[in-house]
């Protein structure tokens, strides 16, 4: 690992995080009467929430919702996109509808989600689901349309069955593009989830922020914000790591 790489991967990001922390400290520590918490106040809040177990209960509630809602939407989106790509009738029937629904903001579904599912896990999972499934369908279709055309021909030459063609050739051929789409979708779903939990949740990171604001616990608001950012960053790093594996790097050279 050379010096430039180390500096770009670790040193520069650490410096910018440190500078932001220092700025925060400088802005809040100088006024003892301020309602704005210092980094130390947030660290104390973290310890107390850690002991009360609430932080992790909220974190796990959000994670389980995102895994269920986004996971289901990604699987179904890939299936629906493949179906539309493979079948002209399905494409003609569904493409305009999917295009239309893609432009309906997931947040605008909140009133209907509450009416249909009440308050709790289900409306949040539903909102995550609608935020992912339509863009994922379009992304899958686009990946399939841009797939190197020789690859399905190879499957044909080797006389692969339809299911083997799909699993052994088509899916791996579009997997790098799908990973990129998943990174984008996961970011979007994470944002929608926080908003949905603020309004329709009884638990979760978004609900935690809402609850802390009602109690004027700004230290908790910032703690939850940090946790939301860190979790989103970790999930994105996980997908980036998958993208960087030698097996899936062929599209980007």
């Amino acid at each position: 690992m050379n010096v430039q790489r180390v500096s770009h991967q670790f040193l520069l990001p650490s410096v910018s995080v440190f500078l932001l922390g220092a700025l925060w400290w400088w802005a809040t520590a100088s006024d003892a009467a301020s309602v704005w918490p210092t980094p130390v106040d947030v660290a104390r809040a973290f310890l107390s929430e850690w002991q009360s177990q609430r932080l992790w209960a909220d974190w796990w509630a959000s994670m389980s919702r995102i895994l269920l809602g986004a996971g289901l939407a990604m699987v179904l989106g890939i299936g629906l996109g493949t179906l539309c790509w493979a079948n002209a009738t399905m494409r003609s029937a569904l493409r305009p509808l999917v295009d239309f629904l893609r432009f309906v903001s997931p947040i605008s579904w909140i009133p209907l989600a509450i009416l249909w599912f009440g308050i709790g896990d289900l409306p949040v999972v539903f909102l995550i689901f609608v935020s992912v499934i339509f863009p994922m369908t379009i992304a899958t279709m686009s990946a399939l349309e841009n797939m190197p055309q020789l690859l399905p021909r190879v499957a044909q030459d080797f006389r692969l069955s339809r299911s083997s063609t799909m699993l052994e050739v088509i899916l791996p051929a579009v997997w790098p593009d799908l990973l990129t789409a998943m990174r984008v979708m996961l970011g979007m779903a994470w944002v929608v989830m926080v908003a949905a939990e603020m309004i329709a949740g009884k638990q979760g990171l978004g609900f935690g922020i809402h609850d802390a604001r009602n109690g004027m616990r700004i230290d908790l608001v910032i703690l939850y914000m940090l946790l939301i950012g860190a979790t989103g960053w970790c999930m994105d790093r996980g997908l980036r790591w998958m993208q960087s594996r030698p097996r899936w790097r062929w599209k980007n050279g």
Partner: protein
């Protein structure tokens, strides 16, 4: 040659893409017999229909009339390599064994023999993007042979390689193909290539695609480019190509 010896046979073949002029017309439909083990080169100008003919032979396209008879497992080697890019060399070869075209799957010793013949041993863990163009083509031919292909349809397979690599890879590849008595149809616009490796050369003329000239070449294949056989074949081929061109202009 007896009819049963033909590895590939085209009978009264005609073809047109929808809404376009016929590439192979019914009035001058194509008949062609390629004996087992022969290396046949199809030479002609761009857009003459060489690749279309190859896709008809492979069964990718269906003729309007006539038929294509393939007596043995057939695979196409494309201009741009068609290895599965997410699989290593070893896994690409394993893919060929798993989906072998022959009656029985290739044996392990066959795999080892091909790895040795194509000198792939030190590249087995690499992915296609980590290989040179010449090596990728060698892996692809090895994959086809490992899958049990007895007929190879090659669509300008070496055209993406630089001139020096092209001659070397061609020499190595066709040495192995000849030793295994693989039937090959080689589409090319390179007379040097045809003179180096073909038993028989068909010079094609366009509108519609037809065999303008047929030439049988002598000597052991692949011909050494410094040898008399190659020089003779190349001269003959040049002369035939020139005559075909002049006849086409006069027409």
């Amino acid at each position: 040659m007896a009819e049963t010896d033909a590895a590939l046979e085209l009978r009264d073949l005609s073809f047109a893409y929808p809404g376009r002029e016929a590439i192979l017309s019914k009035s001058s439909s194509l008949n062609l017999k390629i004996p087992r083990g022969e290396i046949l080169a199809l030479v002609g100008p761009s857009a003459v229909g060489k690749s279309t003919l190859l896709h008809l032979m492979a069964g990718h396209l269906q003729p309007q009339s006539g038929e294509v008879r393939r007596q043995g497992p057939t695979l196409v080697i494309y201009q741009k390599d068609a290895l599965l890019p997410w699989l290593s060399v070893e896994e690409n070869l394993q893919f060929a064994m798993t989906y072998a075209l022959g009656a029985s799957q290739s044996a392990e010793h066959e795999r080892e023999a091909l790895i040795q013949a194509f000198q792939l041993g030190s590249h087995m863990s690499l992915f296609p993007r980590e290989l040179s163009g010449g090596l990728r083509q060698r892996v692809e031919v090895a994959r086809a042979l490992l899958a049990g292909a007895e007929i190879l349809l090659m669509d300008e397979p070496f055209s993406a390689l630089d001139a020096l690599t092209r001659v070397r890879v061609r020499q190595e590849t066709f040495q192995i193909l000849r030793r295994r008595r693989t039937t090959v149809v080689l589409v090319t616009h390179d007379l040097l290539e045809a003179a180096q490796v073909a038993d028989r050369v068909l010079i094609l003329a366009p509108n519609p695609c037809q065999v303008k000239n047929e030439l049988r070449l002598q000597g052991e294949i692949p011909r050494q480019m410094t040898g008399a056989d190659f020089q003779q074949s190349f001269q003959k081929l040049n002369q035939f190509a020139l005559e075909s061109e002049q006849a086409e202009v006069a027409r």
